[in-house]
């Protein structure tokens, strides 16, 4: 029974990793850029929810749409100011630019709000309950389900709307997409906006039960890269499944050893996956 509990806990947190990883994979798929600053959008969204709660008493779950909109805007700004100019750059320049953004946003948060952790003590989802012998923590379950719903919405948008299909066309072959009349620049901006918005929602969901501090994002975005690698770089669906896998792996690893080692298992998993299948477990090529 304890293993069933570990599995379920892993899947619940895996849904969050899945949502974070889908946004990463979206940018990688469309622009072939590894965005190290992905987790920083999440961290900023968490602070936004905190201040909306502290200043106006808004429930962080109610703030999720605000966080999504704000991060969408920030994602587009980051694209316009930085990412757009990296399209033709070397991989090294691209990686340094996004790593520079990681350092910049973390220091920015540290500078304005200090390193102290902040918490939102409770919201409407606070509480514990049991279903059939399995225990659930209210905020964690709500966050997992919220991530699942957001992932579903992103999936629907990308596969069922004309804009989403245009985005996929750009990911497949930007030159052909341009010939077909797709404005690739707008699609790139949209990819950054959507990526930041979805990880912003993840931040809002996590702010209901996690401590908020400047480095919080990296603990989610770096493992999410492993999910992207497992799912095959650039595959949105693969990233989702990869997120569930690393959720279970880190929860089981933490359970079997000590919670401070849980991410170690995720990083080792990356190495195992790329050594066995250099293009990802579900990847093609």
């Amino acid at each position: 029974m304890i293993y069933a509990q570990v599995l379920v806990d892993g899947l619940v947190v895996g849904l969050i990793f899945a949502l974070v990883a889908m946004g990463l994979s979206l940018i990688y798929g469309v622009m072939n850029i590894v965005n190290f600053a992905h987790g920083e959008f999440m961290m900023l969204a968490m602070y936004l929810c905190y201040f909306l709660w502290a200043g106006f008493g808004l429930d962080p779950l109610g703030s999720a749409p605000v966080a999504a909109a704000a991060m969408f805007a920030l994602g587009v700004v980051v694209y316009r100011l930085v990412a757009r100019h990296l399209l033709e750059s070397s991989m090294i320049a691209q990686m340094f630019a996004t790593f520079g953004m990681l350092i910049f946003f973390q220091a920015f948060a540290n500078f304005l709000w200090k390193a102290d952790a902040r918490t939102i003590p409770d919201n409407w989802s606070t509480g514990h309950f049991a279903i059939g012998g399995l225990f659930f923590n209210g905020p964690e379950l709500v966050a997992g389900l919220g991530a699942l719903a957001t992932a579903g919405a992103l999936f629907w948008f990308i596969n069922r709307t004309e804009t989403g299909l245009a985005l996929q066309a750009v990911a497949e072959d930007p030159q052909v997409a341009r010939l077909l009349g797709v404005n690739t620049d707008r699609m790139y901006a949209l990819a950054w906006g959507l990526s930041a918005a979805t990880v912003g929602v993840a931040g809002a969901l996590l702010s209901t039960y996690l401590a908020i501090y400047p480095l919080v994002g990296a603990n989610w975005a770096l493992p999410a890269f492993v999910a992207v690698a497992i799912g095959g770089f650039g595959s949105i669906t693969g990233a989702f499944w990869g997120g569930l896998v690393i959720g279970v792996v880190q929860t089981a690893g933490g359970f079997l050893t000590s919670p401070s080692y849980k991410l170690l298992f995720v990083y080792v998993l990356y190495l195992v996956v790329v050594f066995v299948r250099p293009h990802g477990l579900l990847g093609k090529r």
Partner: protein, 350 residues
């Protein structure tokens, strides 16, 4: 006299003058702080040059070099703390561990290309960070402190590698490391190994199809690069007398090492030194100024109320990090506007 001999002569005279200037610097600047800044710049110039052997010559971009820095720092700290053996004695052990780690990591990861390789270096770095910051033998997150030794005479001081009266011995040790790294880098670049590494960087598949054992040369480049980085780690531990995970085996330190090379110009001889001598003094001065530990003599005139006072108030308040904010901004600006590094402008200097 042909222009070729002029440029050959310049290629020897200019570096020689630079080294002489660096050797004379501590005689002109006798206060500890100006010496400390150049010691740190020399340390990062050495590590950037070492990184450049792998990243610049072989084209293998590693975000994990702090691992080798940590191997040097922790080996020194552990054996000095428990057995009072300084790195004068333990350096062969540290270099052996460094070479073993390089082989263990290089053999599997050098099969990977592009993003996969870089991310592997990131995750190995993260994994090592988790292990080190939980490993009680290495002091876990708190780290290891090297006991201070009051030397009886200079022989005793050299045996313990502890010089507290003056930073001069550390300064010249750092300068020697830096010159050695430059010489080795240039020697590799001009040798057959350099040609083979160039082939690995430009056309790995073609090189392999011609029968070049690319794995072997990448490993050689990594072991040499790691060895210099490990020596820097040993130097750092003896110099600072305190070793902990965030400032030694973290991803951020790895990026700092790589960035001095990127800033100056990847693959160039003088690029990492240029990067280190711009970035390190800038951040060190900014940090010192903002935390108010030294008076630059212009505090009164520069900060006259208003926005700057506000900034300074925040920056001084413990978690400030304005220096890191500016550091992040510099990385973004270089990657965005001058991705080939500052020396990308002045190719002739190289």
């Amino acid at each position: 006299m042909t222009s070729a001999t002029v440029s050959t002569r310049a290629a020897l005279v200019v570096p020689a003058l630079l080294v002489v200037a660096l050797a004379l610097y501590p005689l002109a600047f006798t206060l500890p702080f100006p010496r400390h800044i150049v010691i740190m710049a020399l340390l990062f110039a050495t590590m950037g040059t070492a990184w450049n052997i792998l990243g610049g010559l072989a084209g293998q971009v590693s975000f994990g070099h702090a691992l080798y820095f940590g191997i040097g720092a922790y080996t020194t700290a552990y054996f000095y703390k428990h057995y009072a053996l300084s790195s004068l004695v333990t350096w062969p052990l540290a270099l052996a561990i460094s070479a073993a780690a390089a082989a263990i990591i290089g053999l599997p990861t050098f099969r990977l290309r592009g993003h996969y390789f870089v991310l592997a270096s990131v995750f190995i770095m993260q994994a090592v960070y988790i292990v080190v910051s939980n490993w009680s033998t290495l002091g876990a997150a708190i780290g290891l402190e090297l006991p201070v030794h009051k030397a009886a005479d200079w022989v005793d001081a050299v045996w313990h590698l502890q010089f507290h009266g003056s930073k001069l011995p550390f300064y010249y040790a750092a300068l020697a490391l830096f010159v050695a790294a430059l010489v080795v880098f240039q020697w590799i670049r001009r040798s057959r190994l350099g040609l083979l590494l160039n082939a690995v960087r430009e056309e790995e598949d073609a090189a392999r199809s011609l029968g070049v054992d690319t794995m072997r040369y990448k490993l050689v480049a990594l072991v040499i690069s790691a060895a210099f980085t490990t020596l820097c780690g040993m130097f750092y531990a003896q110099y600072v007398l305190y070793v902990e995970p965030v400032s030694t085996t973290s991803l951020i330190v790895s990026v700092e090492i790589a960035f001095v090379a990127i800033f100056g110009g990847i693959g160039t001889l003088w690029g990492p030194a240029l990067g280190a001598f711009v970035i390190i003094p800038l951040t060190e001065l900014l940090r010192a100024y903002l935390s108010g530990r030294i008076a630059l003599g212009m505090a009164g005139s520069l900060v006259d109320g208003g926005v700057l006072d506000y900034l300074k108030y925040y920056a001084a308040g413990g978690g400030g990090q304005l220096d890191i904010l500016i550091y992040g901004l510099i990385i973004i600006l270089i990657a965005r506007f001058q991705p080939r590094g500052v020396l990308g402008f002045f190719r002739r200097l190289d």
